[in-house]
């Protein structure tokens, strides 16, 4: 169940949804992944602490204010938000988590939040409102659900800016009715996030508020899914499908983006190298602007691969733009430039670099960089 209201956190009350609650009728086996930024927002610190026991009933969340760099008052406000929700739904306050996104360094307008929380109405269909309430510069809400054998996994997220791999992403919330063991859920979530949200970069900036929370209420019944059990692999696959879908949606809706960029690196020595290189290539400002300009400037891709720090032998590299091989043995092929430019004009641009060094591979997602990105971020608080 979920619900959201317009509390007026950044804009005036009534203008847009900006506060909501994701809620279960009973306690859920719950796992979370949080930002690796050393500057952590109060809600991150609080939710991480409360998830040590692997259990939660609700998450209260808001956009418009990150409640980061807000010191003791910020922590008091985060605590109060969870207290207010706990009172309203009749839960223990330790079972309520919190997540915030928005401007760093401003205090939450607690009077408005106190007034708004009691007015939240919950329903099974409230998830869509909640997905709207956590949007900042997102243009569209991002939601999906996957049905597997006997259970369902649903997810929503917000993306847009201050997004860079090596962490969780901004805010992502996943639910399932599967019966799962706590340790397994933690591992499964970590693994899924590593291959999806952590392979996403919009602008190279790691947020102070990144939070991914997954809650499993167990109402589907059946055997408990744990490491090694029959449905463990199925669960992992379904979870990864949801996470990758949300990641691609976030990349497509990156601030100012006109295109989704997918970079696959194969033939790497190991998985770490493959991931590092794919993320570095998709994060390159020069790659992103070239894609925006439909410019078949493949040298920028090889340059980014070269400075990623991952192993590479220039004379073995093979690079594809879409289906066209543009580099073989480290030098340009006699490729059809028109064909490459046509692919660059697509809404999904795919690069594939084969290193011919080993067997590891990884995929990263991002978006092009446009004048609009600059405009959005030059005008954010003012």
């Amino acid at each position: 169940m979920a619900g959201a209201v317009s509390a007026g956190i950044k804009y005036s009350p009534g203008q847009r949804l900006d506060l909501g609650v994701l809620l279960s009728t009973r306690n859920c086996v719950t796992a979370g992944v949080f930002t690796s930024n050393k500057v952590k927002a109060a809600p991150v610190l609080l939710s991480r602490e409360r998830l040590k026991n692997g259990s939660a009933r609700a998450v209260v969340m808001n956009s418009g204010c990150a409640n980061a760099c807000t010191g003791k008052q910020g922590m008091a406000d985060a605590l109060e938000m969870t207290d207010l929700v706990a009172n309203q739904i009749g839960a223990k306050k330790d079972d309520v988590l919190v997540a915030s996104t928005g401007i760093i360094g401003t205090m939450l307008p607690m009077e408005r939040i106190r007034a708004a929380i009691p007015s939240i109405r919950f329903s099974a269909a409230g998830g869509h409102d909640l997905a709207l309430a956590i949007m900042t510069t997102d243009r569209v809400p991002k939601e999906t659900a996957v049905k597997a054998d006997g259970f369902t996994i649903g997810g929503m997220m917000k993306g847009s800016g201050m997004i860079h791999p090596n962490m969780a992403t901004l805010l992502g919330f996943l639910t399932t009715d599967a019966v799962v063991e706590t340790g397994f859920l933690r591992q499964a979530l970590k693994k899924a996030v590593d291959g999806s949200f952590n392979m996403l970069s919009i602008d190279g900036d790691t947020s102070t508020n990144d939070t991914v929370i997954m809650m499993a209420n167990g109402v589907a019944g059946g055997e408990v899914i744990r490491t090694g059990s029959g449905k463990a692999r199925l669960f992992q696959q379904a979870l990864e499908k949801v996470c990758v879908y949300l990641t691609k949606e976030a990349a497509r809706d990156g601030e100012g983006a006109t295109k989704l960029i997918e970079v696959k690196v194969s033939g790497a020595l190991n998985l770490e190298d493959a991931r590092l290189m794919a993320r570095t290539m998709v994060s390159s400002a020069l790659v992103k602007t070239a894609v925006y300009g439909n410019d078949p400037n493949w040298g920028r891709l090889l340059a980014a691969a070269g400075y990623s720090g991952a192993a590479l032998e220039e004379s073995k590299t093979e690079l594809y733009i879409g289906d066209t091989c543009v580099v073989k043995g480290g030098v340009a092929t006699d490729f059809d430039e028109k064909q490459v430019v046509n692919h660059l004009k697509d809404k999904e641009v795919i690069f594939h670099l084969d290193l011919h060094l080993g067997r590891a591979e990884a995929t990263a997602w991002g978006c092009d960089m446009t004048e609009e990105y600059v405009k959005i971020n030059a005008e954010y608080t003012t």
Copy 2:
């Protein structure tokens, strides 16, 4: 001595200077610092090899084509460029170095270069033409000279794009008439580059062609400057002054830039941390766009400091924008926003983060990010 011609490497012949030679009448004690990118251009590989003996007489350089990702043909072309210059000036070919900048992945138009090299005319005043010839998207040439006790150090560089710390920068050439010992010159150059060019970021992309070469012809005479000798410190200071000047000029002239950004980090645990954090902050797309928009969004600075990987305790941080303290003890002060916005409107924007953890400090330079940056790089090859 130096000279440059218009060979027509990227544009038509006669349109702009794009090929030149920096030349000494005798062999110089010479040191170089090159890109850390694993994809290295042919001229980088050749010059690095030839500098193993610490001696050189000339550097031939061009813009318009990076001669990178060009395989065996690229190396043959780099060799031929140095052969042609060696023949013309009567030097051994091993004493001629080469540096290129421009588009990656295209072959040098060797017929035009063969025709152009013999037409280069050398003069003591030719340095300015040479500084023009190595420009790509640079708007202005970058040159300077510093006179110290008994010797002079001069320098020129090109900057603009594909510039990111942890390497040398694009192309930088330094000369001095001082009498210096080879090992000392190598150390002095490395140290100066670490505190200047390596603290510069325009767009986070490390080039395949970064090259800084310093030549000392010794005509000033006097005692040989070596580690520990009387003038060693003076030489180091003069060299650092030249390098920092060129670095700031390059930052100011970053692609599409309207402002220079200087980030100082003090109170760090060690120099490595201070440098890492300052570079990360000055490289942040969100910091760069906020500066462009005169937006006092200080949270982005703390967020970047936090994800840099360097040690930080949020509750100890103190942040200044210009002379205004905006954060103390990790939370916002009651600062005068108008005063901060006024500083952000300056052509030089200065941030200072005091970590209050130790005694190390470092400064990094960069520029704001504008719509113009996107425009330039979406249209580079086409």
